[in-house]
Symmetry: C2
Subunit: 219 residues, 2 copies
């Protein structure tokens, strides 16, 4: 995607509404605003179901102007899923870098990935729906698997340290735990700041307590 | 969908492979086998992305024979999602009917819905991907919301009885809990009987222990 109307503003509201710059025609967007709008259409109609024509229409650009700005659906998908993957990877890097005991690192990982999911909701939602039908989707799935493997390793480290229960396979624990986190994309709608905080706290609370149970019997 | 070749056999293997009756051409299916095949195509390509032509091709029927047997994509979707919804509703009815303390009923509900999800995996997977773009999808979503409401009421009853923690909103608990259950459709592949049992046990173990934590501080 090339620059759109030269706007590069990086300030983006949390409300989930793509930022349209200026009033009236022609439509003008920040790069980020246009990507967010496109991702909204992908999430609503499905990536396969949304045509370039649908995307142009939703943007308010004429079809030829839209084609001038974006090279194609696949490129938009790549940018969107990489944004989610970059944010999740960075959160994991920070979590590991900040150290602590294995169970603290795991708790931070659960907290930070939930926060990233809520902050980057449309992008993570799109990422989680990718099924691997194209090269870009397969690349995204490979990066996702890499993140899943890192998360599973954090669970295993906490089991090995005797800090969480060992009676459930760490890989299965990891899948269920982050499956719970990912399921938030199915119902969460942004807007309420308190809901964001209470959702993060609830995930960490339920997950951690579930993991710490039966710990004594497991050692 | 009309009867297909008069075959009504209800025995269906657990392996996720649609049952094709007889060998060679013409293709013959049980009603259930053909529905399972169609649902597999829906799950692979997306309901929107799969055409009647794709479905006919996958079945091995000629297009005209296929159209003779099924009235359309929407009817197939309706049958598939209703199968999942009927099974989930029946599981909840049985759970409530078998009684017990609120936390026992909740535990049974978690166990039984997880078992139904695994037993009816392709149908539940399709149901969970329904987005509400057509009347049939909206009907399915309404029935799903009805089940979610019943599950949330079971969580609330256990909170009210002081049997599980009250520091997290019951509706949020219900969403996260059954979000974890539903996320199993993302990675579970049938075939291993032990994986099925250990998955159910892990869900119940993690969920229940997470819910029972902090109980004393909550009363």
């Amino acid at each position: 995607m090339s620059t759109v109307s030269g706007q590069q503003t990086e300030t983006e509201a949390d409300a989930g509404v793509p930022q349209r710059v200026g009033r009236g025609r022609p439509a003008r967007y920040t790069r980020e605003g246009l990507l967010e709008l496109v991702v909204g259409v992908f999430n609503e109609r499905g990536y396969e179901g949304a045509s370039m024509e649908d995307l142009a229409k939703a943007s308010g650009f004429t079809k030829s102007t839209f084609y001038h700005h974006v090279s194609g659906k696949e490129e938009l998908l790549r940018m969107a899923v990489n944004r989610a993957l970059d944010a999740l990877s960075a959160a994991l890097d920070q979590t590991v870098a900040s150290g602590g005991s294995p169970v603290d690192v795991l708790e931070n990982a659960i907290r930070r990935t939930t926060e990233v999911l809520l902050a980057e909701l449309p992008y993570v939602t799109l990422l989680l729906r990718v099924r691997g039908n194209t090269d870009i989707e397969r690349e995204a799935l490979a990066r996702r698997r890499g993140i899943d493997t890192r998360l599973a390793a954090l669970v295993k480290a906490a089991v090995d340290a005797g800090e969480i229960r060992s009676d459930i396979d760490p890989r299965l624990v990891s899948r269920l735990l982050f499956g719970m986190v990912n399921s938030i994309t199915e119902w969460y709608r942004p807007g309420t700041r308190n809901l964001k905080k209470s959702t993060v706290d609830a995930v960490v609370g339920l997950a951690l307590e579930g993991l710490k149970a039966n710990r004594s019997s497991a050692q």
